[in-house]
Amino acid sequence: MILLFAGCTIEFKPEIMEDKELLVVSGLITDQAVSNRVVLSRSTPIGNQIISNALTGALVTVTDENGVVTTLTETSPGIYSTDSTTFRGRVGGHYALNIFAEGGNYETDFVEMKPVPQIGALYYEKVVITASTDSSRIDEGCRIYLDSYDPTGKCLFFRWGFVETWEYHIPYPVVNSKCWATERSDRILIKNTSVYNQARISKYPVIFITNRTTRLQIKYSILVNQYSITETEYNFWEKVQSVNENVGGLYDMTPMAIPGNIRCTSRPEETVLGYFSVSAVAEKRLFVEDQFLGLPHFYTYCVTDTLTGFLPEEGLNSSYWVVDDNGNEIPPWWVITTYRECGDCVTDAERIKPDYWDDF
């Protein structure tokens, strides 16, 4: 059995000739007083750089069950938004999407906005990671869990999204040494409670944070959005999940196109990708400010050279950056790096402290 692990993985460049570009719709209508967005784009053929291939100039409308039509305006290329002052989704309301783009009519059925309960608890646990190479060293990571409960039992299918923000510091006396990085979830988090005798979620693992990133260095925060989705939408995400987790193995599901809920009425054979989602939202934020064992030094690669006597102007702040300026000393010396992110944290993040950062 040990021998099963004698395998290996090799990267390869598939020789694929595919040039199909299909319409992709990604939309979300919520009950929040925010601008709701529907993003239209085209799929990227395989082998190409994934770029946002925005579809501009489309007519996008949302209709509710009372026949009220709301037209979305294209706020930036391919992004069509509602006006947060005039449109707000209602729990219990039904919404359908209509798109007219490139000579085609696209539509969805009415989707009900289901109520969503509050997130019961959002918490973390330290996780011991034993390095496979050295079992004596103990490293710690962090796993974030949530509990939820809908006493009304109306919300059976849950979906979550999250936004991570964390503070990190560059260990050099540079101007931009303290930053806040932000990342959105890129995974599918869903749960079906219809199989249980109550709509209760216990210790759902939201994310595992390894100690290989700067997230646990200073202070970390996560904002989790909880959505109440329909069974159809749940099935869609479940299929996407199984296709995304596909490792090409023999016990993976046969890969196939996953139909969303958008169809082309003018050309029925045309495949439309993506999903138009309608849901109420509940959110909760968690801060993690703790000591984790075994955090590595993230900047060991940074120091490229130490210069004395002369700092070349050529290439300064374009091909090398100063991380420690001792130009006033005699003799003057400078520690430089060729990695921009080591001398300026704004490369990967923002310098502005989020307004919620200290209020807890």
Binding site: M1, I2, L3, L4, A6, G7, C8, T9, I10, E11, F12, P14, I16, E18, K20, L22, V24, V25, S26, L28, S41, S43, P45, I46, G47, Q49, I50, I51, S132, S135, S185, D186, R187, V195, Y196, Q198, S202, K203, W237, E238, K239, V240, V243, N244, N246, V247, G248, G249, L250, Y251, D252, T254, P255, M256, A257, P259, G260, E269, L273, G274
Partner: protein, 912 residues
């Protein structure tokens, strides 16, 4: 009674059948207390006589006092009495001693003339050299020699050491190039014009025997054959050389366990299903995966029979190992086409695993240890020659290893399996034989997760064979087979669940074989199988679990079949086998059947009504004839041509939308919506022996059509789905191919090579656009691997040392690559369009193994063997799968190899 018998033995060199009476040779010397050897030398010195015998038979026993005066025959009578050794004195003065070989004496002749038994030494082949047969056996009364018409020789073929009947032994008349094959009970019957012939008895893994007969009339010859114990004894495997010529079926492959054990092993386990993969026309989706594909059939289209009962999951650990331990297997027959009418229920093939009966003469056994398992086999008589048993057991000790490896991944994993098989066979009387067999297997694994997978097979089988006469017998069998699997997880206690699935079948089969005079053969019978399936129950696994039990309604059905099959020798060069099987299937209530809007694809949203069926009410029935026809043309004494057509119907299906069969796939019966799969195959074959019958070649081509195969909608959910008809897409299959094979199975060097060209294309058949796969065009199934080459080689350096190699090459299987990617809800999703448009790289692997046996002294308590194998000795990183990952805003492809290096293993075992 038309039993006729042997007569005396006459020398080959005779001119005319001189009927001299045997002379009397007086013993004139002091024979008392001589060893037998001394007695023989003295007798040969005094008289013009020669003894033929094996010295070991008489080691240590001295002659006693048999009175005075005595003759040689009187001494032999006394000395040999009770020893099981017989003698014959020929008119020329050859005295031939034989052991363990009984022939009935003719009633019409006097006893003196017929104290004869053919001598083993003269009929067997030793080493590379065939000892010329110098004796003739008379069958029938010589007085009948000028009678017109054919005469028939019939009889039984058994194992010499265990007394088990041997099925599939070829009895071949070299002069006429006609032959017969023993049936499942070891009975054969061959008829030919009166005359002098040489008969050859051969079977794969057995020492070939040869007999010369003068055929005067009908008679009976029983034969005992000995198995070739490699490498303990030097011998030859004479495969079913002539059998291929004689059999009716195109596409039949017999694998003996003796041969199987010579092949290199993967991880030290000789494996029955892995050896089937070396047969031309048999493919596997991926290395180490479960299930195999025969001539373009899907994996669930193979009927795997153990003790005549279906084995629903023939694999351990995803398919890395076969679930049946080779220790209990006597032989295995694979029908790729030309499936006899007595088999049915699956479209593509039948793999019939016949276990051993157990040693009827003495206690014996085998035990061993490989890197993966430890195993033990014991066989012994309960009542000598009447009743015996065999028990085998095998278990992994991988858990024990996992716990000792300092790796959390492995520490939290577990993989365990075992299998136990046993059989008790009892001869109630000469005409009634009873067998009870049982089999259990279990697998449990958890691979670095909290989910425990567990699956079990259970088979019980009872069989009664009754012989109405030597030419008419029946076999009544009752069996039950059950396959269970459960998946459970307690990761979150409140969400602890268990999914349970099982399939149960109980069958009764009555099978009659009748050998009327001449060369015709009839088989007829009936079969009844009751199925009960639990498609999936979702249950709480602990008291604090809040899981609501969710049960999919059970399925019940009855399958019945009637068949009749007759083989007729039309002329000396043409024989025909014509069979008809009529099968019926009744899906039974209780059940609620959904009705769908017929103008729209079946979906939960198009349900219009529900029909309820009460207990045992017929929900839906299907029935149809299955024709099985074969013709065999003997073109010359070394070549033949066969043609075959057969139809097969299948009512039980495996729901799987993964590339390979997985242990968590569920079985499903045909029902209101799911039609039976129907396969039609036509095959042609040409067979030719080369170089004095030492090389066997064959070429077969086939075309096959399969209707009502199953495919699934995108992302179909097959587990815990009560409306499975909403996920199924009906597809049609079209398979064709050619299989070429050449092999030499004689001498120290044995080899075989095969090339297969085969295609399997499928096409979705539906009136709804949304359900079409690849726009309704033909496309390759995921096990379509057009080119396939396999070769094996075995060389016996000495009785203690042998070397083998095996090589496999095949085209890479088709895969679906994503056509593009898109983002929705912040998630990058690959988009798949055309199915199976691309292929993974070709597969190629060379394995080597060496077998070394310890001391060869026959009276040693245990005979040890060491087997050293290297799997994939070239270390080629064969691609197992291909997958795609998003990295730095680009989709990158990865090739995964699971055995990327040479894997050595050592197995130790010993026979006792």
């Amino acid at each position: 009674m038309r039993f006729l018998f042997f007569a005396g033995l006459i020398l080959l060199s005779f001119s005319g059948h001189s009927q001299d009476s045997v002379r009397v040779y007086p013993v004139t010397w002091e024979y008392r207390n001589q060893s037998f050897g001394e007695f023989v030398r003295e007798a040969e010195a005094v008289h013009d006589i020669r003894f033929f015998f094996v010295e070991e038979w008489f080691a240590g026993r001295l002659l006693g006092n048999y009175g005075d005066p005595v003759s040689v025959s009187l001494v032999l009578d006394n000395y040999l009495s009770g020893s099981g050794i017989y003698y014959l004195i020929t008119p020329r003065g050859d005295i031939i001693l034989t052991k363990g070989y009984m022939v009935r004496l003719p009633e019409t002749r006097d006893a003196e003339e017929s104290k004869f038994l053919p001598r083993e030494v003269l009929t067997e082949i030793k080493g590379d050299e065939k000892i010329a047969t110098s004796m003739f056996i008379d069958v029938g009364n010589p007085a009948d020699r000028n009678k017109p018409g054919n005469a028939t020789i019939s009889g039984w073929v058994r194992m010499d050491n265990t007394g088990e009947p041997i099925a599939g032994v070829t009895v071949f008349n070299q002069q006429l190039s006609v032959g017969a094959v023993t049936n499942a009970y070891g009975f054969y019957s061959i008829s030919m014009p009166r005359g002098s012939y040489s008969l050859q008895y051969s079977f794969i893994g057995m020492r070939e025997k040869k007999l010369n007969v003068n055929l005067y009339g009908d008679g009976e010859i029983d034969m005992e054959m000995s198995s070739v114990l490699i490498p303990l004894k030097e011998a030859i495997i004479s495969a079913q050389r002539n059998a291929t010529m004689q059999r009716f079926e195109v596409g039949l492959e017999k694998i003996s366990v003796v041969n199987l054990k010579l092949l290199p092993t993967s991880l030290g386990e000789s494996d029955i299903i892995k050896s089937v993969l070396f047969v031309t026309g048999v493919k596997v989706v991926g290395e180490g995966s479960a299930g195999f594909n025969v001539r373009g059939g899907s994996a669930d289209q193979n009927l795997i029979l153990l003790y005549g009962a279906p084995l629903y999951n023939p694999n351990h650990f995803f398919g890395f190992f076969s679930a049946v331990n080779t220790d209990i297997i006597r032989d295995v027959t694979l029908y790729k086409g030309g499936i006899p009418a007595r088999y049915g229920g699956r479209v593509s093939s039948v793999l019939d695993i016949v276990p051993k009966d157990g040693n009827r003469k003495e206690f014996a056994g085998n035990a061993g240890i490989s890197p993966v398992t430890a195993h033990l086999m014991i066989e012994a008589p309960v009542i000598e020659d009447k009743c015996s048993f065999i028990v085998t057991g095998r278990s992994t000790y991988s858990n024990w290893i996992f716990r000792r490896i300092d790796n959390p991944w492995l520490n939290s994993s577990m993989a365990f399996f075992y299998d136990i098989a046993g059989r008790l066979s009892y001869d109630l009387s000469k005409n009634d034989k009873l067998e009870f067999s049982s089999y259990f297997s279990n697998d449990a694994f958890r691979l670095n997760s909290d989910t425990l997978y567990r699956y079990d097979n259970t088979i019980l089988s009872l069989r009664w064979k009754h012989f109405f006469s030597n030419r008419f017998f029946a076999q009544l069998a009752a069996n039950t087979s059950r396959y269970d699997y459960t998946i459970s997880s307690d990761r979150v206690l409140q969400e602890g669940f268990k999914i349970a699935h099982n399939v149960r079948s109980s069958g009764f089969k009555a099978d009659f074989n009748w050998y009327p005079a001449g060369r015709s053969e009839m088989n007829f019978g009936t079969e009844l199988v009751y199925y009960s399936i639990r498609p999936g129950d979702y249950l709480p696994s602990n008291d604090s679990s809040m899981v609501n039990p969710f049960l999919i309604q059970k399925e019940n059905a009855l399958e019945t079949a009637l068949w009749f099959d007759q083989k007729i020798q039309v002329s000396s060069f043409l024989s025909v086998s014509a069979g008809l099987r009529f099968s019926s299937f009744f899906a039974l209530g209780p059940a609620d059947v959904m009705q769908y809007d017929p103008s729209r694809p079946r979906e939960l949203s198009t349900i219009t009504d529900t029909i309820s069926f009460l207990q045992n009410r017929i929900i839906k029935s299907y029935a149809g004839p299955e024709f099985r026809v074969s013709m065999n043309f003997i073109l010359a004494d070394n070549s033949s041509f066969k043609i075959n057509y057969n139809r097969t119907r299948q009512y039980l299906h495996l729901l799987t939308n993964t590339t390979a069969v997985s242990p968590t796939d569920t079985w499903k019966l045909s029902d209101y919506y799911l039609k039976p799969q129907i396969g039609d195959q036509i095959a042609l074959g040409y067979y030719r022996m080369l170089y004095r019958n030492s090389i066997e070649t064959s070429a077969e081509i086939y075309y096959k059509r399969i209707s009502n195969m199953l495919d699934y909608k995108g992302g179909a959910k097959l587990v815990l789905n009560g409306n499975i008809e909403t996920e199924i897409i009906n597809v049609r299959g079209r398979a064709y191919g050619a299989e070429l094979s050449v092999r030499s199975t004689e001498g120290r060097l044995r080899w075989s090579a095969g090339y297969t060209y085969s295609r399997i294309l499928i096409r979705s058949v539906t009136e709804f656009n949304d359900e079409l796969i690849n726009s309704g065009k033909w496309f390759p199934a995921s096990f379509d691997k057009p080119h396939d080459v396999s070769a094996t080689l075995n060389y016996l350096f000495s009785r203690r040392f042998s070397f083998s190699a095996s090589y496999t090459y095949s085209t890479g299987r088709p895969v679906t690559f994503p056509a593009g990617v898109y983002q929705t809800g912040g998630i990058t999703v690959p988009y798949y369009s055309e199915r199976n448009k691309y292929r993974i790289p070709d597969y190629s692997r060379l394995d080597l193994s060496m077998k070394i046996s310890g001391n060869l002294k026959t009276n040693k308590i245990a005979h040890p063997h060491w087997t050293i194998s290297v799997y994939n000795i070239l270390g080629r990183a064969n691609v197992y799968s291909v997958y795609f990952r998003e990295e730095n805003d680009q989709i990158k492809g990865y090739k995964l190899s699971i055995f990327a290096q040479a894997i050595p293993s050592v197995t130790y075992s010993f026979d006792f």
